[in-house]
């Protein structure tokens, strides 16, 4: 999804998802999003069908590439006075600037009427707000701190138990290395490296340290010994990658697990789509770990925002769309195709796969929930730290102390 080539090749392909039925008189809603891969498009189609069945008329504006391609296009249209009826964003701070300028429609009444508050986890309920008003209808919840492993590789290397601590994990990685296989399938692009770092920060550093760093932007926490310990664990993983890792796409790295060449991969649950596509079954052919260390669930996801429109019928279409998005049926249909889990807690999720069940168990305990850095902090800070993490990874001479100092410096500058 984040493939750079995709972003370049597919500038603004408009892909029409089949509008079923002939209800031309329905409430017409143009929906702008960037879900264009096979699984994603299938998930969107579920949502479009649900909307059409509820009396709407879904007009699909899919922009190939990633959010960083599609988002500016949508924002330009909103500023230019030709907004789509609804637009996709990632859960979190991305919508704040638009909300601040009064360009988005507040959904407070609708949320109150349908009681979104009790349907969502408190963290997500907060994440769709800006200055006390609700601006987003959340559709899914992506776990971002998974470690996936190949059961075949673990077996070949003689690793019998799922590692529960980093000591056990390093012992397992050593065995894989000794067996002549690649221990960690690293995708050496900055965003993947940072995702790996955050995963260790949350597992090994713990939820408290993680929140201090990403939520409070606390520079003392960044300079603490525990943070430096996390940095050292991260740096130690350099010894377990293969020479082909720089600039490798995430799905190529997942492919290395599927082919039985590499042991583990740090990735969000969208990687499950690749395993499923290769006819692998969760917990049978591949395993999934939240951790090692504290087993928390790092939540991120997608929301829809609704630009302010003057037209009454278009506003009605927005209301209908938000209602469909927040319906239990809409959430289940969409998420079973997308690989994510529903944001509503009251959806029957018994049919989702074994890894999703693990995630859902974690999600039932509010103390194990935590939001992804993209949700907690401005893109600007997150991505500048991303450069630093990438630089640290590729500069073995940089010490954990130097890394922590520079990390704190970035926070100071961008605040």
């Amino acid at each position: 999804m984040r493939g750079l080539l995709m972003a370049l090749v597919g500038a603004t392909a408009l892909i029409a998802v089949g509008v079923t039925g002939a209800q031309a008189e329905g409430k017409r809603a143009e929906v702008l999003h960037w879900w264009t891969s096979g699984g994603e498009a299938a998930a969107v189609r579920e949502l479009a069908n649900a909307f059409n069945a509820a009396g709407g008329q879904w007009v699909d504006t899919a922009i190939a590439g990633s959010g960083s391609t599609a988002r500016p296009i949508g924002i330009n249209r909103i500023i230019g006075g030709n907004p789509p009826t609804a637009m996709q964003f990632n859960t979190g701070t991305q919508m704040n600037d638009l909300a601040q300028q009064g360009l988005l429609r507040p959904l407070d009444d609708l949320a109150k009427e349908q009681d979104w508050k009790s349907a969502l986890t408190p963290a997500f309920y907060n994440a769709i707000q800006y200055q006390g008003h609700i601006y987003g209808a959340p559709i899914n919840d992506h776990g971002q701190n998974w470690i996936f492993y190949s059961k075949a590789v673990f077996q070949k290397a003689g690793v019998t138990e799922e590692p529960k601590t980093w000591d056990e994990m390093f012992a397992a990685l050593d065995k894989i290395k000794a067996a002549g296989l690649i221990p960690v399938a690293v995708g050496g692009q900055p965003w993947q490296l940072q995702s790996m770092f955050n995963s260790i920060l949350l597992g090994e550093g713990g939820k408290e340290l993680y929140s201090k760093v990403w939520k409070d932007l606390d520079t003392d926490a960044v300079k603490s010994d525990k943070f430096k310990h996390v940095a050292e664990v991260f740096a130690k993983l350099r010894n377990y990658q293969d020479p082909g890792s720089p600039n490798r796409d995430w799905n190529v790295a997942t492919g290395m697990l599927i082919d039985g060449k590499a042991g583990i991969q740090f990735m969000g649950d969208w990687a499950k789509g690749e395993f499923i596509h290769a006819n692998m079954v969760a917990d049978k052919d591949f395993g999934c770990i939240l951790g090692p260390g504290e087993s928390n669930f790092m939540m991120g996801g997608d929301i829809f925002v609704f630009p302010v429109l003057k037209d009454k019928t278009a506003t009605d279409a927005q209301t209908l769309l938000a209602t469909v998005i927040m319906s239990k049926e809409g959430q289940l249909a969409f998420n079973s195709k997308k690989g994510s889990v529903p944001v509503r807690l009251d959806v029957d999720t018994s049919k989702l796969d074994a890894c999703a069940q693990k995630g859902l168990t974690a999600l039932k305990d509010p103390s194990r929930q935590i939001l992804a850095p993209d949700v907690l902090t401005a893109q600007d800070i997150v991505q500048t730290e991303q450069d630093l993490v990438a630089q640290y990874w590729t500069t073995p001479s940089m010490t954990a102390d130097q890394f922590a100092d520079q990390f704190a410096q970035v926070i100071e500058q961008a605040k």
């Binding site: 600037d97 020479p243 893109q379 630093l388």
Partner: protein
């Protein structure tokens, strides 16, 4: 750049001392050019000024008019990635332009020796230029990828001491981009130089042969000075490619390993779109713009506006 006022002034000025017909003819030419003036004004001058203004504001995802002084520039020049980008583009620029000029010139000289199948060679040498930087970048990414390309070939035939894994070493990856760039662009330089060489008077060669001057000295002291305008044209084209280098880096290394091959163009694009910081991105592009102006102005002055002491 002209503003409508100065354009109108020019019309009146040129009309002053000429005959009525010429006046009319000039007027119609200026009327015809007027839309172009407006487009230039709006598309270049106004956007440049707007861009500079935005760089002094606190714009994030949306452009806003909150003046913050030089905050963006202060942040820019304390950002490690920006400093590294500037260093990279300077090093890339020097090596790339020098490499293309030297290789292009040598290729042109070789083709100018009345070789057989010259057309075929010319096509082969020029061919890489027909490919986009994206394709070039991808090709070189595969060639230099240690698990796919040259390194694997070397390993498989037992030459494990050969290191072709530059692309994964943060201090060498930039040279892969330089190599890819030279491979792509030296064919163009060759074509331009060859045209220049063909323009050198054949009589001159006869004369130097009679005088017994060795060929390398003729090239160095006579042909190269004659080719000066050609070399300048090629250098300008290459320099433009250096300033806007973006896709090549994106396709070859993605700016990695880490951030070791980042360039200003990529910095601007990333902050403008992916990272939602228009203020910082416009600050960076303003720095690029001013740098180019500072470098180009003296050269333009030297080439076009200086009184040229031409005796012969």
């Amino acid at each position: 750049m002209s503003t409508p006022e100065t354009a109108a002034g020019t019309i009146a000025g040129t009309g002053a001392g000429t005959t009525a017909t010429r006046k009319k003819r000039h007027l119609s030419a200026y009327v015809a050019l007027f839309p172009a003036f407006i487009i230039v004004l709006l598309a270049y001058v106004v956007t440049v000024i707007w861009n500079i203004w935005i760089s002094f504001t606190d714009s994030k995802v949306l452009p806003v008019n909150i003046f913050v002084g030089t905050k963006q520039y202060e942040r820019l020049f304390t950002t490690a990635r920006w400093i590294l980008s500037l260093q990279n583009v300077v090093l890339f620029g020097i090596l790339f332009i020098a490499g293309c000029l030297i290789l292009g010139f040598l290729l042109a000289v070789a083709l100018d020796q009345k070789v057989r199948f010259e057309n075929t060679f010319r096509t082969i040498f020029l061919y890489p230029f027909a490919m986009s930087f994206i394709v070039t970048g991808l090709v070189w990414q595969w060639i230099m990828n240690p698990t796919l390309g040259l390194q694997k070939v070397a390993d498989s035939i037992g030459f494990t001491w050969i290191r072709f894994d530059w692309i994964v070493q943060s201090n060498l990856a930039l040279y892969v981009i330089v190599l890819a760039g030279i491979w792509q662009s030296s064919g163009l330089v060759m074509a331009i130089m060859l045209a220049g060489l063909r323009g050198v008077d054949r009589e001159l060669w006869k004369a130097t042969r009679i005088d017994g001057i060795p060929a390398w000295r003729v090239y160095l002291h006579i042909v190269i000075p004659i080719l000066r305008p050609t070399i300048i044209t090629a250098s300008v084209l290459l320099a433009i490619a250096v300033v806007r280098v973006y896709e090549l880096v994106l396709a070859t290394t993605g700016g990695g390993p880490g951030i070791s091959t980042e360039v200003p163009g990529k910095f601007i694009m990333d902050y403008l779109f992916g990272r939602g910081n228009i203020g910082l991105a416009t600050g960076a592009s303003t720095v690029m713009f001013i740098t180019v102006v500072i470098l180009v102005t003296p050269w333009l002055y030297y080439e076009y506006f200086r009184e040229k002491p031409r005796g012969n």
